[in-house]
């Protein structure tokens, strides 16, 4: 077979467009999702009542169904159900936002619930005001413990954006397919896209590894 790298540079603009779209979708769905995650996390932490049950179900549901099913469901059912026109990109961002909301809510909940029991009891018995306990005792270590899980989920999210090519969002994998169809250099473009994904995700997963090792080290001390 031939592996002709020379076709690649002439089509860099399209691939860069795809890359920017991938990043934009990631950022937007992360922002919307974080907002939703806050509510879901509050609901799950509140312990009982309708908010709690709905949050638990929503989190479990969107963490368990496959991303592809979610993306297709939103793309082909939401416009029918609400009689609205939605572009593929908007549908994709919606689907990924739900994914982010459910997963990040679970990460946040785990972070808060892993608060050191002794510290908490000490602060409560000393009569420290509730908001000071949250700001000084619960949230800072929770954020630190959440960091690796959160970045790990971020890598999953970046990988999940590639699935939006199935509904025709013009992100990197879609562009690679289109360019492959045009130039017949499928393997070259796919390899390049895989390399770009690797270059983005690998530093993040290195960070996860380091952060996890550091946390384990802290715990063992």
């Amino acid at each position: 077979m031939t592996f002709d790298v020379n076709v690649l540079p002439t089509h860099f603009p399209e691939l860069i467009d795809g890359l920017l779209l991938t990043l934009r979708i990631c950022l937007l769905s992360m922002a919307f999702g974080a907002f939703g995650a806050l509510f879901l996390c509050l609901g799950k932490l509140s312990g009982r009542g309708s908010g709690y049950h709905v949050s638990v179900f929503v989190i479990d549901f969107f963490r368990t169904i496959p991303e592809v099913v979610l993306i297709f469901w939103i793309y082909s059912c939401l416009p029918l159900l609400f009689g609205a026109r939605l572009s593929a990109e908007v549908c994709g961002i919606m689907a990924l936002s739900l994914l982010v909301a459910a997963n990040v809510a679970e990460i946040m909940r785990a972070g808060v619930q892993s608060t050191d029991q002794g510290q908490l009891e000490a602060a409560m018995s000393l009569g420290v005001p509730a908001h000071t306990i949250w700001l000084r005792i619960v949230i800072p270590p929770a954020l630190q413990r959440m960091a690796p899980a959160f970045v790990n989920f971020m890598t999953e999210l970046i990988k999940a954006t590639s699935l939006l090519s199935t509904i025709g969002v013009a992100e990197m994998v879609y562009q690679a397919n289109v360019l492959g169809n045009r130039t017949f250099a499928y393997v070259e473009f796919l390899t390049l896209v895989a390399t770009i994904f690797f270059a983005i995700i690998f530093p993040l997963s290195l960070f996860v590894r380091h952060a996890e090792a550091r946390l384990a080290h802290q715990k063992s001390r």
Partner: protein, 261 residues
Amino acid sequence: MAALDELIEVSGGRTTRICLTIALVGVLAAGIWSLNWETLLNLHFGDLWRFRVAVLKGLGMTLTLTSAAAACGILAGTLLAIVMQSPVRPLRWFVVGYIELFRNTPILVQLIWIHFALPILTGVPTTAFVSGVIAIVLQASAYFSEIVRAGIQSVPPGYREASDALGIPVHTRWMRVILPPAFRTMIPPLVNMTISFLKTSAILTVLSVGELMTVATRISNATFRPIEILTVVAAVYFFFGWLISRLTGRIEAATARRETR
């Protein structure tokens, strides 16, 4: 977490619950108000009954793919994790490179790459199913090996040192000393990973492998009614994911009981 619950109550748990309930009612009301009732009232879930055989076949394929990914993944992942502990440095680097490669690129890209580029490279044409299985197993081995590695590292170093001191052969050391306790700590992450490969198997729909999602897309294209079938399929996936996680609760409880005896 008694203290945390107390803290939540002290810092306005009741108010939070009331606000969340109000927000929930608001969201529901807005949703119901903006629904397109004409479509909703014209849904016929009963029509799907005639596709039951196709859906069951798709489900069978999905479960086959999931179990293939889990079984081969755990097996190959364990081997990779053991090789990672080997003193030969190039061997270790090779395994690390393999794992990082498959963990840090999207499965969709791997899948398309394996389906289109591998036949060109090797000269052996593969069917969509074979490419799908290769891709999902390769990715599974990389993901599972990370879990197994963590499991092996959680075994106290004393086990290994003791087995070295007793002159236990390498094979026995792995099979009887290090791996059994490692696997017990690994049950929860292994199950989570299996559920996540149940989800991954749906991605093979881009090659039309014939699993549940492929069947769903075909039915929705044939009937022009995506809502019914996609909703049912989402529910089926949810049910099986829930079932797997429920089963593990049992396995965990059983192993815990055996431990305490």
